[in-house]
């Protein structure tokens, strides 16, 4: 097989539409969430082990450092969930046209932004 054969869609050389950014962010947020699982499990483990560790982890996650980590994790979760719902909606044939795809991508970005701000309010308020 010719290793130098031309590639039909070389994404490194074309200008990306909004749907591409939504798709790439879905992948990035997914990879971030894979790391965040460790944090979630650590907090869950501590919260259920004993009353002492429940109170200790509650105090621990109220430090600015952990608030930032939790907000970043919730932001990745919010984005990934909303972008995932878009996939499910499209599986039912809704928003599959070019315009529908663009509109769906815009809705995902706006809805995720709102949820990420609300997550910040939840963490810091």
């Amino acid at each position: 097989m010719n290793k130098k054969r031309p590639v039909n869609l070389d994404i490194g050389t074309i200008q990306l539409p909004i749907t591409s950014y939504v798709s790439i962010l879905h992948r990035v947020s997914g990879v971030v969430l894979f790391a965040a699982i460790a944090v979630f499990l650590w907090v869950l483990d501590a919260s259920l082990s004993s009353e002492e560790s429940f109170n200790a982890i509650k105090e621990c996650i109220e430090s600015t450092f952990f608030q930032l980590i939790i907000w970043a994790s919730l932001a990745a979760l919010a984005y990934h969930l909303v972008a995932g719902v878009r996939h499910l909606v499209m599986d039912f044939g809704v928003g599959e046209t070019l315009e529908g795809g663009r509109l769906g991508a815009m809705i995902v970005l706006i809805a995720a932004a709102v949820l990420i701000v609300l997550a910040g309010v939840w963490v810091w308020a």
Partner: protein, 124 residues
Amino acid sequence: MGMITNVTSFGRSGLSDWILQRATAVVMTVYTVFITVYLLTNPDMDYGQWLALNSHICMKVLNVLTVVSIAIHAWIGLWAVLTDYVTVRLLGPKATPLRIFFQLGMITINLVYLIWALDIVWGI
């Protein structure tokens, strides 16, 4: 059938991975929405209340379904990412051993997460 399969994909077929990715997504969404609403409506929750919730058999079943879903979903998702980007075309001939290394690492971490999570949620 002469279907081409990949030994590192989760369900060994695209259709199987496709439907599992969606089924697990629905389970995780149910868990996320439920826990978010619960925590928002119980801001002063103490240890006893949190333990009681997670000791309930319905919650234990949802917890187990969720952590199993996370493992399957992450496996399928990261497989797609690795096989798209850690490729010979993008990274050269070293990509194949590198991708196998990352795939096996991803699978190992997934199993560690799963065993740890099951120990937490079922051992209550």
